[in-house]
């Protein structure tokens, strides 16, 4: 009988313990990005642009060169990084409060221009770091500290479905929404992250991947309940799928 290592930490993930709450799936999301980049031997060429939110300390957890962007401005910062270093692999890692609220203009324009970057968007339907306020992606009826009676569609509107919106913009080569709540969805997420980087490497346009994740603390649930909530409530509002994927041989000017 021989014993082989079936799963261990990928070298680009630092040993530093994360500050995330128990059950927070940020750890899974950024680990999967690091696993892809290590598998493709791209770690040395990667520059990540981190954002504001619970993922703000990402530069302590992933061993890539990084730039910390002002709140919401990661796609604009990444545009600059990629344009001066077009041979680098550039990705942004943003939460929903960062990308879909204060950073809405930046993501819309970067996507429309078709910047050759990858956007990893972690959607947990709430502002995590600041204490659970209503985010643009908060579900209708979801209670948050700023919508104690639940989000009302007629006064606050319906949640933004970013993967679909971004897919509708001309410069986007790949846009998908995946979840991190079970092993089957993790396999889909791995595939989507790979495609989101492949379109950047092929110079085809922006790769966008939305990852549905839990926020047990601000949802006021246990991690296991929050994980079940993804399947029961989040996925029905935010359907999973690939919303745009241009052909592999499609060129760019």
């Amino acid at each position: 009988m021989s014993e082989t290592l079936a799963f261990t930490r990928t070298p680009s993930v630092a040993e530093t313990p994360t500050h995330y709450c128990p059950g927070c799936q940020h750890g899974v999301a950024h680990r999967m990005v690091a696993e892809y980049l290590d598998a493709e031997n791209l770690a040395e060429k990667t520059i990540m642009v981190t954002s504001i939110g619970c993922s703000v300390f990402l530069y302590n957890y992933l061993r890539f060169d990084s730039v910390e962007a002002p709140h919401g401005r990661a796609p604009a910062t990444a545009t600059g990084v990629k344009r001066v270093s077009p041979d680098k692999v550039v990705f942004t890692y943003q939460g929903d409060g960062d990308l879909a609220s204060i950073g809405m203009a930046e993501i819309m324009h970067a996507a429309n221009r078709g910047e050759r970057i990858t956007v990893v968007f972690v959607n947990n339907t709430v502002y995590g770091m600041t204490g659970g306020q209503m985010a643009p992606t908060t579900l209708v009826g979801q209670k948050t500290t700023t919508s104690p009676a639940g989000r009302c569609a007629s006064t606050e509107g319906a949640p933004f479905r970013m993967a679909e919106i971004v897919a509708g913009l001309g410069g986007v080569a790949f846009s998908a929404r995946v979840a991190l709540n079970n092993v089957k969805h993790l396999a889909q997420a791995r595939k989507a992250i790979r495609r989101a980087f492949e379109v950047q490497l092929a110079g085809q346009g922006m790769g966008f991947v939305e990852l549905l994740a839990t926020c047990p603390t601000n949802w006021k649930m246990t991690p296991v309940q929050a994980n079940e909530h993804i399947e029961a409530a989040i996925i029905p509002t935010f359907p999973l799928g690939v919303f745009k994927d241009i052909a592999k041989n499609a060129g760019a000017c």
């Binding site: 021989s2 082989t4 290592l5 799963f7 313990p17 994360t18 128990p22 059950g23 991690p223 296991v224």
Partner: protein, 78 residues
């Protein structure tokens, strides 16, 4: 027999590993780590059932689980 090595100091006791284990051999232990979290463990009496599928490790947000897979002699010789 495949096995997992769980780093109890990294574990935050979220128990997401326990819900994805196809053999249901993971559970909450009665031990607390230095962070004050009640950590998960592989039930010693059921440990032999581990298939090394890595579901728990993939689900773990804190990279607390390392999985060792044992290839049976019959399969290894193929």
């Amino acid at each position: 027999m495949s096995r997992i090595v769980l780093d109890e100091e990294r574990c935050k006791g979220c128990l997401l590993c326990t819900v994805v284990c196809p053999k249901n051999i993971l559970r909450q232990s009665s031990r607390m780590n230095a962070q004050g979290y009640k950590v998960a463990e592989c039930a010693p009496e059921l440990a032999e059932e581990c298939t090394g599928c890595t579901a728990c490790a993939q689900m773990c947000p804190d990279l607390a689980i390392v999985v060792w897979r044992t290839v049976k002699a019959k399969e290894a010789s193929r």
